[in-house]
Symmetry: C2
């Protein structure tokens, strides 16, 4: 790479880009860890994007109509931090750059959306950023259809590396984007031909350009160090009516001794090589030093969008008060006031009518009343619409010619769906929910973890939640999936027992601001157990006494979802024999754990033997409630699964695996001695 | 679709294919559930493949040199069961077909490899079969390089649907296959233009042919109902030096009222429509009836390969006794006798030298002695070779021109790697292990579950197993991943504390026949805690007393992996204050659970307070050991994580999250009261 030619051809550009490269070298050196090569390779692309195209106002990083910049190759976090510091972001200060990767810094090893307003999304797990970006771009289309181009008209730009493009989720993402012709989405592929293990060709020879074309994308290839080519390509991408991929030929760790090698991917900390690289850049400044003229030039870029933002504010102010209010409510993720009354009315009706319904069907009943009063909801399914019961009558289908549609046929793309939903939630203005079989939590899992880590209130509608799925067999029967979601921090896992609990769970899920929810719903029909209407949302307490013991309380049965019915049957048998049995419905362990000690002791007093009942693994968080947090509370047992399931009609499987009222009764008697 | 034209053009073919269609209709009708449309659409392709190309001998389904047939679109299981029954498989009898999807039947809803010898792999979770098949094809290349084409020379054929091709894992699989030019792999794409939600175009417009070409595949397109075109395409695929994709234009549910509709995907049980379809087929026979002449024709197909198998047996017998024995040992997955002595010698050396080493490094030390004596091992990493320490000096790199290489650069494809490893293990003759960061368990998860369900002894080398990973931050720091793997049935999760335990864990993992293993290994250095050499494999007991209390035993500390060091430090402090502390190292909870009651009570007697220490979530199986299976055993506490991690140097994070000897001491004192 002839750096001198780059410098002399575009001296002003060069200096701005060199600032990114130098800051990266200094921060990684100070931290003695990090990834230098990617920011050094992509500094030119980022500089041109920010200087010439990205619509943003550094002083207002939360301006709703800003363009979104997604660093999918999140290990190159110093690229983003450099850009934010240079353009004048209030949070990513020079001190933060100097504290790169240190405890408490906003400049974490990988960009974390919850640490600074200007960080759009958390990236690092490869492929997530590009998959999020599909959701960002869809949210923009949806919001524009809803509020008009005067208020919503922005682009989504992504930098992705070979890692992102090798990950399977990228396939799901680009297929969905191509199908939906998300023309305001542009992906820069950092085509540097290097992965951690060596040359890309060690593991991959995919023709990425042909691949994106096959998925329906507009594709260009440029020299990623030539600012004119970069500028022209972005201009062309913006004009295309397809999503755009710009293959940027770059040199990883440009100008460093490690250039074009896999060593260049990681932390370049050798002081002499660092000095030599800075010399090659004509960058005679001290560590973390950016000369005032270059900083000013960058700050001007950061202010470039201020006028556009001002115009937007004017247009926003000109909109009707109702429109402003609704825009802000949706943007802030606030549930409408009517939600509570709507849920209460449904609960009342259901408590009276006492339908027998699968909770997936219950969920549909709830959505039928929610979707009409919450225009911000966006539903979808990974090709199981009729099974997940996620589509209600009023939604319309999101499509190229119907951006107002609120239902997405995500295709057989559980992972891409989850990651796109994260993007929608991060974008704001959209409250996404999506369905698949609970067992395919596995496929969506990397993105579900990120919903929790990124504090995004995405709702996962996971139906067919046990061996109750029946004949499809063990590949489709979750047994460990409640455990998986319950072990994940900042995740609410709901396993409602009937339509009333399902309505309560949905109400809680839709009022979350920072926590995703997993709804674990049955395929098979369940009786209504909440037959007495209560206005109070009982699920909000996580667990509660559904039926108390008559006579001396000797036993507490704790059950969730479809097994609450079994607990109630076992209670009847035991009470008939004079054994007092309390039944606790425990639809959400996380919320129960959040109740105060007094409440929890009232629901689960020490003394009586306890039996947990759930058609899943005991490892799914049970021992805490069965045995007590500090032990010694009760003699306890569990009725559930301790193996994979099998293929047979559901009723036979419950018998076969011993998840029956008879088995509960026997366990209780064994424990009573 | 003009069925009459099909019938008259190829009447003999038609009858054979019609047998599959009729059996499918009858079995789904009897089960009142299942998927009719796919077998009815792909019956012609399967018939030609089995009749003209597939090398198999129905009487010997485990013949090692058979061609492999993988039904990636596993919901179409009746296609496979029909083929097996018709060709005379001893296990898939007519009774089994009649019991389709019933409890105890071998004809489960989706094909389960462990139910019948002729079922090569478990499919149903979409994309897994095609990704397995890459491992099958790699194993064939490897085994051929090792034993020669006289003993190993077979093809892998796959039927995949749109679902398989939309799933992200298919991208990883076809990229890897294209890179490795797996020329003996052929994928039939059931291009029927239908998914569950409707037309494929609802969610996808990918040009699949262009996509496979971009990944380096040989691509053809045919009429999937024309036997001559099918035959010619398979012949051409076999000649290509690239993996082959044959796009088969088909009609789902051919000849049924539901043909070409999404309804045709599922269970077609309407009796009148069923009768009409059979009439269209000229199939006047009763339910489950296949006339003798058609059954005979199919049985002849089943016997077609008998001669080839006989020739193979002759060639096998002509090989040297040592070669025969080694082939069989590898094929049967038996560890070499030397393994035990080799591990013991390493343990002795390490106990004496007492190195401080990260357990990922310990793992490499173990592999350095194992790989030379186990030629069947095949290592790899998802682009983290230098971090996972999975490549030893002697392996060589598997590549197009070096099929004897035993190390695979899998690329940034955790899911594809795991699924390919499943395929290798299923194929036989190869014992695969593969590495990534423990946090990316999430990406590999769908295939990891299948390792367990399919009973395949794949080894997952999961390094950087806690906040000890440091600065890369919470996206890369597992906290719930031990819980995830421990909640999965039939999975051994090892978290060794030092090099000795790592060696013992590897020995156990490599002697498994039916259980996958997850090795949870540190990034950071750990002292040797097993300083006294014991020939016995202590990890085999799952948990054991590492250091007993001096004086009265008041406390039991239970720890795993990197936290054993902390437990030992806390013990020292407490003992100095006169408090007797036992330290139990618990490297494998599953194996501890398998010990008899007496042993477990010896290690964890009731009475002393217990504190568990692990830099993960308490939900990771802890309460059972802390509180006792039936409760009331001990007062207990836990020192670990209850949130996501953060970005900072590892030592600071352990302080920050309170996972220190001081915190353990404080917790103990609190519990002692």
């Amino acid at each position: 790479m002839d750096i001198d030619a780059l410098k002399s051809a575009h001296p002003d550009h060069w200096k701005k880009a060199a600032a990114i490269r130098a800051l990266t070298l200094d921060a990684v050196h100070a931290a003695n860890s990090g990834h230098s090569g990617m920011p050094m390779g992509m500094a030119d692309v980022a500089t041109v994007l920010f200087e010439k195209h990205l619509k943003f106002d550094a002083a207002n990083p939360e301006w709703p109509d800003r363009d979104r910049f997604i660093l999918s190759a999140g290990h190159g976090s110093m690229l983003l931090y450099s850009l934010l510091y240079l353009t004048g972001d209030a949070e990513i200060t020079l001190d933060q750059i100097k504290n790169f990767r240190q405890l408490g810094a906003k400049t974490a090893g990988h960009p974390e959306n919850f640490l600074a307003k200007a960080i759009e999304t958390t990236t690092g797990p490869l492929g997530q950023g590009i998959a999020n970006s599909v959701g960002f771009a869809m949210a923009e289309e949806i919001q524009r259809a809803r509020f008009g181009a005067k208020l919503v008209d922005h682009h989504t730009y992504v930098i992705a590396g070979d890692g992102c493009l090798m990950e399977g989720v990228s396939h799901e993402a680009i297929g969905l984007a191509g199908r939906q012709k998300l023309s305001k989405l542009t992906v820069f592929w950092d085509d540097n031909n290097i992965t951690i293990d060596g040359k890309v060709a060690l593991s991959d020879r995919t023709d990425q350009k042909a691949r994106f074309e096959a998925a329906g994308w507009h594709v260009q290839e440029i020299d990623g160090h030539n600012p004119e080519e970069i500028d022209a390509a972005i201009t062309a991408a913006k004009k295309s009516d397809l999503p755009s991929m710009i293959a940027c030929k770059t040199h990883i760790a440009l100008g460093h001794a490690a250039q074009d090698t896999s060593k260049g991917h990681g932390a370049l900390t050798d002081p002499e090589q660092l000095t030599a690289a800075k010399e090659a850049y004509d960058w005679p400044y001290g560590p973390f030093e950016v000369p005032a003229e270059i900083k000013s030039a960058w700050e001007a870029i950061g202010q470039r969008g201020a006028a556009a933002r001002g115009d937007w504010e004017t247009r926003f102010s000109a909109a009707s008060g109702a429109k402003q209010k609704e825009f802000e409510r949706q943007q802030n993720g606030e549930a409408p006031k009517k939600l509570s009354a709507t849920i209460k009315a449904l609960k009342k009706q259901v408590s009276e009518e006492k339908p027998k319904a699968a909770t997936r069907k219950s969920s549909e009943m709830v959505l039928e009343v929610i979707n009409p009063i919450m225009p911000e909801t966006l539903g979808g399914s990974a090709d199981l619409t009729g099974s997940n019961n996620t589509k209600t009558g009023d939604l319309g289908v999101f499509d190229v010619d119907n951006r107002a549609g609120r239902y997405v046929y995500f295709g057989i793309r559980e992972h891409g769906m989850a990651s796109a939903m994260n993007g929608m939630a991060l974008h704001g203005g959209v409250r996404p929910y999506g369905g698949t079989f609970m067992c395919f939590t596995d496929y969506a899992r990397p993105a579900m973890r990120l919903s929790a880590l990124m504090q995004q209130p995405v709702v996962y509608v996971m139906t067919h939640d046990s061996i109750g799925l029946g004949e499809d067999g063990p590949t489709h029967q979750p047994v460990e999936h409640l455990a998986i979601s319950r072990a994940t921090p900042n995740t609410l896992v709901f396993r409602p027992a009937d339509t009333v609990e399902t309505a309560e769970a949905w109400e809680i899920a839709l009022t979350q601001q920072k926590t995703p929810s997993v709804l674990s719903l049955t395929r098979q029909g369940l009786p209504t157990v909440r037959t007495e209407h209560k206005t109070k949302n009982m699920v909000a307490q996580g667990g509660y006494v559904l039926a108390d013991a008559e006579g001396k309380r000797e036993v507490i049965l704790i059950a969730t979802g479809s097994e609450v019915e079994i607990a109630m049957q076992a209670r009847e048998t035991l009470q008939a024999e004079g054994i007092g049995v309390r039944v606790v419905s425990m639809p959400c362990m996380e919320l129960f754990a959040q109740q105060d000690d007094a409440y929890r002791k009232r629901v689960l007093p020490g003394g009586p033997v306890r039996v947990g009942i759930e058609a899943g693994m005991r490892a799914g968080g049970w021992d805490r409630w069965l045995l007590g947090e500090r032990g010694r509370e009760a003699k306890a047992g569990f009725i559930g699964m301790d193996s994979f399931g099998a293929s047979a009609p559901a009723g036979e499987l419950f018998e076969h695996f011993g998840i029956t009222a008879e088995a509960v009764v026997a366990k209780v008697k064994d424990l009573l001695g």
